[in-house]
């Protein structure tokens, strides 16, 4: 199993499920950091708060993927490589070209079409399959059902990174609106806009009610653990039997969400 750092994989999953993580990069001026290798999430958000110019992000290079695949080829016949949605990043493309460099090793590069922990859940699902074929089928079946509902404290970062304009977010106004953004069907679209965070949090829980049944649920946050816990508590009431993972948004995604972002992520059944 190979994924990239935007899967926001919980640390222990690497060993539990045997997942390789290829880091994307975050670039502050002349300095390049590998996501969660050269910089921790906490350091990143601290720097983000004081940076005069916003950082940029970039996909791993094909060569970096090739290195990982080559290493795996010493022990395995093939792998599944699940990555950040191709509509958002060149990561899938880099993985595909990287895979072509390694002969005699079967790489199934799969486009998750989404961001953050749904990718981790897809990896988990794949890791629990017996064969490469079964894993591929299980992932492909779930890709169209991955959902992310995000609350950004400000749209500034997403706008600067070019992933969404104010018009697309239904924010053609000077009012400080907080849109709830829904990542589904390879699109980021606003589903609701509210004026306060607590209202947004209530709406996030209510929104999930309309999405049931779901499996693999997590609450993601960028430096907002208490609010994430509030959302998780709300979700537990809706889904008493479901484990609710609380995950942290990493540097690369954080570059585009900015601090204090919150999200509910899940896979629809």
């Amino acid at each position: 199993m190979v994924t990239d750092s935007t899967a926001d994989l919980p640390d222990d999953w690497r060993t539990t499920y045997g997942i390789e993580v290829v880091p994307l990069k975050v670039i502050f001026g002349d300095e390049t950091f590998r996501d969660r290798v050269d910089i921790t999430d906490d350091e990143f958000f601290r720097r983000l708060g004081t940076a005069t110019k916003l950082p940029t992000t970039s996909a791993p290079s094909p060569g970096e993927f090739a290195d990982v695949y080559r290493r795996l080829a010493e022990h395995y016949e093939g792998c599944i490589s699940i990555h950040l949605g191709a509509q958002l990043s060149a990561t899938v493309q880099a993985a595909q070209i990287g895979a072509q460099q390694v002969e005699g090793f079967k790489v199934e590069v799969l486009d998750s079409e989404t961001v953050t922990m749904p990718i981790a859940f897809l990896c988990k699902v794949a890791a629990e399959c017996e064969t490469l074929q079964a894993a591929k089928a299980a992932v492909e079946e779930r890709v169209p059902k991955c959902r992310v509902l995000a609350l950004l404290d400000t749209l500034r970062y997403l706008e600067m990174g070019g992933r969404l304009s104010r018009a697309q977010a239904m924010i053609g106004t000077m009012l400080d609106l907080k849109p709830l953004l829904y990542v589904a069907d390879r699109e980021i679209k606003p589903v609701e806009r509210v004026r306060t965070r607590s209202r947004a949090i209530t709406r996030m829980v209510e929104f999930l009610r309309g999405e049931l049944p779901v499996e693999h649920v997590a609450v993601m946050h960028a430096q907002a653990p208490e609010e994430a816990e509030t959302i998780a508590a709300g979700l537990r009431q809706e889904l008493p039997d479901q484990e609710i993972v609380i995950g942290k948004i990493g540097c690369v995604l954080g570059t585009h969400t900015g601090p204090r972002a919150l999200g509910t992520v899940y896979i629809k059944k």
């Binding site: 060569g63 060149a90 070019g162 969404l164 053609g172």
Partner: protein, 545 residues
């Protein structure tokens, strides 16, 4: 590079190619911010220039240390380095361009102009092969056109290396300028393709170096820096003029006319008969087109339209009411007064504004006209004032359209209602959600008493500052801060998160600043947002939610 000038290279060898790539790097480094600026929402690489620069840096990293005499060795290092350092879609494609180039020159120590052109072409082919679904109007197209132009130039028996690279650069530049005609998204954003422009810079950087090394006569330093602006000028300097007319004459040759017009612009359409020819062209220089055409015959129905103005008009109308039609087919009409508030409601997506409010109550007819004027069969109407609700409630019975009147008593309620509107939800559900959200907001209105009065147990003198909570007179005093503090205290700030202050015409900067800091210090738990409302009669309207 002085040492290079004394050499007379017969072709592109290792050292020359190395110098050329370093030239590319310098040129791209000097201009990559311009590439970044060609950002198109929602294309992911808003940092295309940076990504390409970093990819190119990685490509030349190992080359710097190499003294290889063979072009093949330098090309291979560039290919490997770029693959390792490729970032972003454009960077990845650039790495494939280097890869294709390296394959084409494998085993060669130096390239003839013809071999160089062939390598450019193979570089473009490799890039196309690397992409699942090649899109025209991108770096791919620019690579291909550069290769084609190079091959054409190389066909000349007297072709030189600088000549071939110059042709490639010119081909790239022309292709970049055409990218908006190939991709809607570029056209909409008014920019050329960023990745393609980056590739143009890379080839131009090569050209500069190679020309210098051969003591080429052209003053590249003075001429080439404009290249960056040429591309950027397209959106900024305008989209040219859409020029149309008929030529009335005898024995007109459509092909000859088309050929001459084509030299002056693009999107050329020339059709007709020997007696009458219709011409359509987009040109920066309509005068020359008209003069030229006038030589063929008499011009009829001459029409020159400034496409920049057209473009701007499209943008303007999109930003106002002319947004793409809503999925739910529901329109929004609001009664608002005050320039700032009008902008706020427009910005939130309201299709038509009826001017009016506290003292200028609009008539039922005014609202009916607005409702009938919006291009939707179902309309949500927001009166936004207690004195307007009754007139608004008459509207549904007077129109064939389905009208939902949300009884918003104040501007804050109106804003809350519009914010809750969702373009994909049907009218009835929207109306219910908007009503519920409006009810969640508390309104504080601050004004001056127009006469002495006694109301709600308060004794008020003319000119006093008075505060109303949800239309009910609650406090009177001598200054704004005192009244607002009392009103917020009464609402119980612990139950609320955000105060939005809409500043009216009658409030000075100083009064606004005082009020804002007073709220912040008295109620540190509340967020305070200030908006220019521009409303009359109420120096301040506060929304508490």
């Amino acid at each position: 590079m002085a040492s290079m000038a004394s050499r007379r290279p017969v072709g592109v060898d290792g050292p020359l190619f190395k110098q050329a790539l370093l030239g590319s790097l310098n040129w791209l480094a000097a201009n990559h911010e311009e590439v970044n600026r060609l950002n198109v929402f929602p294309v992911p690489d808003g940092d295309t220039g940076t990504n390409m620069l970093l990819t190119l840096q990685s490509a030349v990293e190992d080359i710097k240390e190499s003294n290889a005499a063979e072009v093949s060795k330098i090309a291979k290092l560039a290919s490997h380095g770029s693959l390792m350092g490729a970032r972003g879609n454009s960077g990845v494609i650039l790495s494939q361009i280097f890869r294709g180039f390296a394959r084409a020159v494998e085993g060669k120590s130096a390239l003839t102009p013809r071999e160089l052109a062939a390598a450019f072409e193979e570089a473009a082919n490799a890039a196309y092969r690397a992409v699942n679904k090649p899109t025209e109007g991108t770096i791919l197209t620019v690579a291909r056109e550069a290769g084609r132009a190079a091959t054409t130039a190389a066909g000349d028996v007297e072709a030189t290396v600088p000549g071939v690279i110059a042709a490639a650069a010119a081909g790239a530049r022309a292709a970049v300028l055409k990218t908006p005609s190939q991709l809607q998204i570029l056209r909409d954003a008014g920019v050329v393709d960023a990745g393609g422009f980056g590739l143009q810079l890379i080839i131009e950087g090569m050209l500069k170096t190679v020309e210098e090394s051969e003591s080429f006569q052209l003053d590249t330093a003075a001429m080439k820096p404009k290249a960056a602006q040429v591309a950027l000028d397209l959106p900024e300097g305008g989209w040219g003029y859409c020029t149309e007319f008929l030529i009335d004459g005898a024995g007109l040759d459509v092909d000859v006319i088309r050929g001459e017009i084509e030299a002056l612009g693009n999107s050329v359409l020339v059709v007709g008969e020997p007696e009458l020819v219709k011409v359509h062209v987009h040109t920066d220089d309509p005068t020359s087109v008209i003069t030229l055409a006038g030589g063929f015959g008499k011009l009829l129905k001459l029409n020159v339209g400034d496409m920049s103005t057209q473009h701007k008009r499209i943008l303007d109308s999109e930003s106002a009411a002319g947004r793409p039609p809503r999925a739910n087919g529901v329109g929004l009409v609001a009664v608002v007064a005050g320039s700032g508030l009008v902008d706020i409601f427009r910005g939130l997506g309201v299709d038509a504004i009826v001017e009016g409010g506290q003292t200028m109550n609009p008539s039922t007819q005014d609202m009916l006209t607005a409702v009938d004027g919006v291009p939707y069969d179902e309309v949500v109407l927001l009166p936004n004032n207690g004195n307007v609700i009754l007139a608004a409630s008459q509207v549904p019975s007077l129109t064939k359209k389905k009208v939902h009147v949300i009884e918003t008593h104040s501007v804050p309620q109106g804003v809350a209602a519009v914010v809750a509107f969702r373009p994909e939800r049907n009218g009835a559900d929207n109306a219910a959600a908007m009503k519920a959200e409006a009810a969640r907001v508390q309104t504080i209105e601050v004004t001056h008493a127009v006469r002495d009065t006694r109301s709600n147990g308060l004794k008020v003198k003319k000119g006093d500052v008075i505060g109303l909570i949800n239309d009910k007179l609650e406090f009177a005093g001598t200054d704004y801060v005192e009244v607002v503090n009392k009103a917020l205290g009464k609402l119980g700030p612990d139950s609320y998160e955000l105060v939005t202050v809409y500043r009216g015409e009658g409030a000075s900067d100083d009064e606004l600043a005082k009020l804002e800091s007073a709220i912040r210090s008295s109620f540190p738990g509340l967020e305070v947002e200030v908006q220019q409302g521009g409303q009359q009669h109420y120096p301040f309207i506060l929304s508490v939610e």
